[in-house]
Amino acid sequence: MKLRISALALTAALAGQSAAAQTEIEFWHAFTGRLGELVAEQVETFNASQDEYTVTASHKGNYSETLNAGIAAFRAGEQPDILMVFEVGTATMMAAEGAVKPVYEVMADAGAEFDPDAYIGAVKGYYTDTEGKMLSLPFNSSTPVLWVNEDALEAAGIDRDVDLSTWEQVGDVLTALKESGHDCPLTTAWQSWIHLENLSAYHDVPFATQENGFAGLDTELALNGPVQVKHIETMGQWAQDGKFIYAGRRNEGGANFRAGECALFTESSAGYAGISSEAEFDFAVRPLPYWSDAEGAPQNTIIGGASLWVMEGQSDAEYEGVAAFLNFLSSPEIQAKWHQDTGYLPITEAAAELTREQGFYDENPGTDIAVIQMTSKAPTANSKGLRLGSFDQIRGIIDEELEAVWSGDKSAQEALDSAKTRGDQLLRRFEQANR
């Protein structure tokens, strides 16, 4: 009896001690379904790997909703330790001095080992300030590529290995597809991201002044330059000729491609999971095409996706836990697994290397194209990324103006000029709000 009591007391004491010692870290994210499961798995692995910290992950809706939840929580003084914010929210977070604790600071304060150079340049660049300091931790990043339905090409009498590196070549293939009676030669997802934001970076022309917003809040859109106008004009002509079918602002076109209706499809590299599981035809992934007459093309493409921001106002113990968790997420094994499971890019060179060693790229041809596309050249001021305030809304404006081009209501020049004028107004308001 005595023994039992003391054993009980001991257990209770141990339980109490470990509960007191385990610092809880709150992590809010925007993933559901398979991605949600994979995040939960990462968190569990981390929690099981040590006994000092417990990470609690909660789903807070889609990207916009998660950001709103984070903002509302901060205003109420209930902010989580880590908040997942999509790439277009980067400027909002960066401007929120006093609400956000930069990642490099978190790492330095915690004395954690942290080497910003371990991260892939074009991924790191997006979340790094002009002094090279990393503000948030890249988490899930993807980049646009060209998806090809090879069976459709063959049915139209086109060689399935036809060169599609440039938009000129793509144009010829679209004409051939159309002439053979194909209904949907080309469609796209995320038109602003792929056909303006990435187009600009890929051709090394600015999307906005002040290094695309990295160098200051007094930035203006520059998306109505000759390269962009030429591209949108050509796409508009293709839309008029029925060679480019516009399906919607998000990834609506994906359903048409996966069903085999559309031959070519510009979409994120992260579309891999969906396409490989649904497509009942031979598909291939090719690099995003470029205009061969443009100087500096192809540069590198830029990313989409989200990064992890650390919020202000937590205890030192929590920040130490955050640093440990972020380090864990960037470790080659965890990153390589994430990259292979999801189709998102590996955020570190080491994870890309490990994936190559594991033979993943050999077994899944094309999955390394996005990585090559992003890493073949060092990013320039035009291809580091975008940091524009109210960018979610500016994308909405761009969508509207592009729709006017596809429907033939406006010329490319008119539409892009109007997008610039309207977008600049929002940028001025953002500047005023964050003065």
Binding site: N68, F74, A96, A99, I245, N256, E400, E401, R429, Q432
Partner: protein, 293 residues
């Protein structure tokens, strides 16, 4: 001398209206006051700083041609939604009011769509009219009509009107049916014996007796079209193409929640409040005179 009923004492009446006043104060006056206050500033999303701009937000909004256009869009949209949902509901209620076999089932089926949340209704209609895989798009294609609400503003407007009115028909139907059933049969039968046909009876007896219901539904439906259709528009068109379906309340959401531009969003709420207030006053001042209670 006029006879008036007067309750003595101050505390009992105050106590009786207190809960309602409290609810109104907490859920209406306080937030409305906050909106008016916020509309004078450009705050940053995290609430760390605020720039006083006076009426700057209103100037900015009213100088935006897209915002001005959205007043017309809202007027067209709410008129159509109200007309379609009330007209069809009245038609169906008149049919259901007749004594027919199985009318219970018929009524239940008509009431069902009301149970569907606006966002779900939006997704439902979006799939049926999807430009590539939609069932109705396919049938329209067979008839030689090329449906594309993704690029055609008029079609987009038509679709959000149908989707918004659809769920509302059930609600209106319930009220119209109750209204119709409360009209004494004897009056109608007397008119029939006098030789009045269905249409004459409807125009001279039924519709005037139904006017309180109709007026109530008019007010409620306009408020619905202004505020609650947001979910439908968000799921089907997201305000596009080219803002052809961006009604005022949708822009409040877009600027406030997507753009984090709380100053502009607050200013728009204030404008919207004024518009709906004015509309309600007009309705009670002019339309209600024609109502027989």
């Amino acid at each position: 001398m006029e006879k008036r009923v007067i309750f003595k004492g101050v505390w009992l009446p105050l106590l009786l209206i207190a809960p309602q006043m409290l609810i109104t104060a907490v859920f209406f006056f306080y937030p409305a006051g906050q909106a008016v206050w916020q509309s004078l500033f450009i705050p940053d999303p995290f609430g760390l700083s605020m720039q006083y701009v006076g009426l700057g937000n209103f100037e900015y909004l009213l100088s935006d041609p897209y915002y001005r256009a959205s007043f017309l869009t809202t007027a067209i949209f709410s008129t159509l939604v109200t007309l379609v949902s009330m007209g069809l509901a009245l038609y169906l209620a008149v049919l259901a009011d007749r004594l027919i076999k199985g009318s219970g089932t018929y009524r239940t089926l008509l009431i069902w769509p009301y149970a569907v949340a606006p966002a779900v209704a939006g997704v439902l209609w979006m799939f049926m009219f999807n430009t590539r895989v939609g069932v109705i798009t396919w049938y329209l294609g067979q008839l030689g009509y090329d449906w594309n609400h993704v690029l055609n503003g008029t079609e987009a407007m038509g679709l959000v009107v149908i989707a918004s009115a659809w769920g509302r028909i059930s609600y209106n139907f319930l009220f119209f049916l109750a209204g119709l059933q409360s009209i004494p049969r004897s009056v109608i039968e007397a008119a029939a014996i006098d030789g009045a046909g269905f249409w004459t009876r409807f125009r001279t007896i039924v519709f005037p007796l139904l006017s309180p219901t109709t007026f109530f539904l008019l007010v409620v439906n306009i408020v619905y079209a202004f505020f609650e259709t947001f979910g439908v528009i968000h799921t089907i068109t997201a305000g596009g193409p080219q803002q052809s379906t961006t009604i005022l309340v949708y822009k409040v959401y877009a600027d406030g929640f997507v753009g984090q531009d709380l100053g502009s969003s607050a200013a728009q709420s204030v404008i919207l409040l004024l518009v709906v207030g004015a509309l309600t006053v007009l309705q009670f001042k002019y339309v209600e005179r024609k109502v027989h209670y």
